[in-house]
Amino acid sequence: MNGDMADVRLVGVRKRFGGVVAVSDVSVDIARGTIFSLLGPSGCGKTTTLRLIAGFEQPDAGDVYIRGVRVTSTPPYRRDFSMVFQSYALFPHLTVAENVVFGLRMRRIARGERARSVDEALELVKLGALADRYPRQLSGGQQQRVALARAIVVKPAVLLLDEPLGALDKMLREEMQVELRSLQQRLGITAVFVTHDQEEALTLSDRVAVMRDGVIEQIGAPRDIYDRPRNAFVASFLGASNFVEGNIVAREAGVNVVETPAGRVTVRADRPIGERVRIAVRPERLRLDPIDGEGIPARIRDVLYRGPVTHFYMDSAAGPLIAYRQDARAGEWSIGDRVHCAWDADGAVVLDEAPAKRAASGEVTR
């Protein structure tokens, strides 16, 4: 990526709290006008990374740049960003309009321009009618919009969002995801988004960084990291995955054939013959064929009807398997049925890490 276009750049940033390493050697470039998500379980360092960009924490090593300016030792109030907090942190003693105008007052914008900008921002989040209310008089969703309006009205170089939708219920959260995305695209804002919700990260982001123990495990477009996870952690954090281990027995035109304890499967990869690999397959990529079909023979242990999809839990000689079928008809497959599980080479990916030398070679994570 062209570094000149990066609105936020972290270079080798490290941060430890006491003996705990919160962020360890993180380097990222966040391109102008894109949403970048930091995704990971709690304690993975995603929020600390965000607070390092904001300047609420000082890195022990490395540098932070905003719009090409080194801000590593600049206090937060002199950095060009604004932030939406998980708890919103709306000032309870100020009305909605006063909350939104706060950043403009602090930036000493002229009074007339302030009023115009506040009206615009409140219009954007559809809260013009509530300008004179106090935060405590608003619903959670409305408070969330005020927090958003307060952050975008100052037209920051980068908008930081710390799990901003975490406090909303599922319906409202999905609605706000769509709204946030369209708002960001209309305004061309650069945003860094912290979340532990993989669906949210996939929905909202142009690029996602999956973090674990202070380290970025993988960075890429949502489809990249979902379809081509580098390791088992990324694969399982972004949803369920089937893991199968075996030895490569054939290599042809970018496709490897892997010999597993249950039979031969294919994967799009170009590894040398004889290498032991672990491959991951998404449950929706798994086909269920009748017993005389191709693939791994398995036996259905459990069927879970989930509305739009049906989950099939199976046991095979290569370990447990899980498949999601959208088009499963009632009674087509039932518990105890013998099936063959197959997938296209494009649906499988070889993981970077070498598989552990264990007797039981397969596992399913949810």
């Binding site: 937060p76 604004s82 907090f85 942190a89 309870p92 706060f102 602090m106 106090y134 959670g140 930081l160």
Partner: protein
């Protein structure tokens, strides 16, 4: 729990408050509306003279003025000295904050009488301050420190300061630090963050501390008597003097003037600081 049972449970304390507080106050007001008597608690005739005399007499007006002045100075000093201390205490880690608050409470464990005599020992003509200054040859004749409004102010202020510090510190400690971070994220310097966010959000603590200090100043007796002496009397001393002179109705009237001052000030603080407006959580 139904409302019926609720009332049942409330009845004993309500009755106690009625018998021990409301009835005596009403009776006291009744007393204040009568002429004095030499043999009875009050004479038979109803009159407003007790109040009219108080408000016409420049002697009493001076004392009311002095009382309010002393209270205002003590309040101002407690706010100016107390707020920074409270801020310092509030940002300590919880265990150390507990310890600091206990240390602040420690002086309150020593009787006011003992502490007042301590000030006497310091401030009297042959006291520690005067002898030290004379030994240093900074003064020739001893200063009149004791029995002045200043002595009352200093002594009462040191007694009441912990109330102010603890009130404000509790509010500040409970304040979500995210508010300050949100202000800084919007470009507010530490000073402007304090002025526009921290200070307004600490008004509940300021209001309760202010009321405690002011009301306790109005009702203080031991300290003002021992350190104010006969020349710097305040309203409470006049009530005592009237009682000892068997001027029950005037004592009662003075008591109601004091009560009125307290009520007016409380209303003023609540209207001015509006502590209720900042209550509510970040969510």
């Amino acid at each position: 729990m139904t409302a019926k049972y609720g009332w049942f449970l409330l009845a004993p304390p309500l009755a106690t408050v009625c018998v021990l507080f409301v009835v005596p106050v009403v009776y006291l007001f009744w007393v204040s509306l009568h002429a004095p008597s030499t043999s009875e608690l009050y004479a038979a005739s109803l009159t407003l003279h007790n109040y009219v005399d108080l408000l016409r007499d420049s002697f009493y007006l001076t004392i009311i003025g002095r009382t309010l002045g002393v209270a205002a100075v003590i309040l101002g000093l407690c706010l100016v000295i107390g707020y920074p201390v409270a801020y310092f205490v509030a940002v300590l880690p919880p265990r150390r904050r507990m310890l600091a608050l206990l240390l602040l409470l420690f002086p309150l464990m020593v009787s006011n009488v003992v502490r007042a005599y301590g000030w006497v020992a310091l401030l009297e003509r042959q006291g520690v301050v005067n002898t030290t200054l004379r030994d240093l040859r900074w003064i020739d004749a001893p200063l009149d420190l004791l029995y002045t409004p200043s002595a009352v102010v200093v002594a009462l202020m040191t007694i009441l300061l912990p109330y102010m510090v603890i009130s404000i510190a509790n509010t500040l400690a409970a304040l979500d630090r995210r508010y300050e971070e949100a202000a800084q994220a919007l470009g507010a310097s530490p000073l402007r963050t304090f002025v526009h966010v921290t200070l307004p959000l600490s008004t509940p603590g300021i209001a309760s501390g202010t009321l405690l200090v002011f009301l306790l100043t109005l009702s203080a007796y031991v300290t003002i008597t021992l350190l104010g002496g006969p020349r710097s009397k305040l309203l409470v001393s006049m009530i005592y003097d009237s009682v000892t002179a068997f001027q029950w109705p005037r004592a009662a009237a003075l008591a109601f003037v004091l009560l009125a001052l307290a009520l007016v000030f409380t209303a003023l603080i609540v209207a001015l600081l509006r502590p209720g407006r900042v209550q509510g959580t970040a969510r």
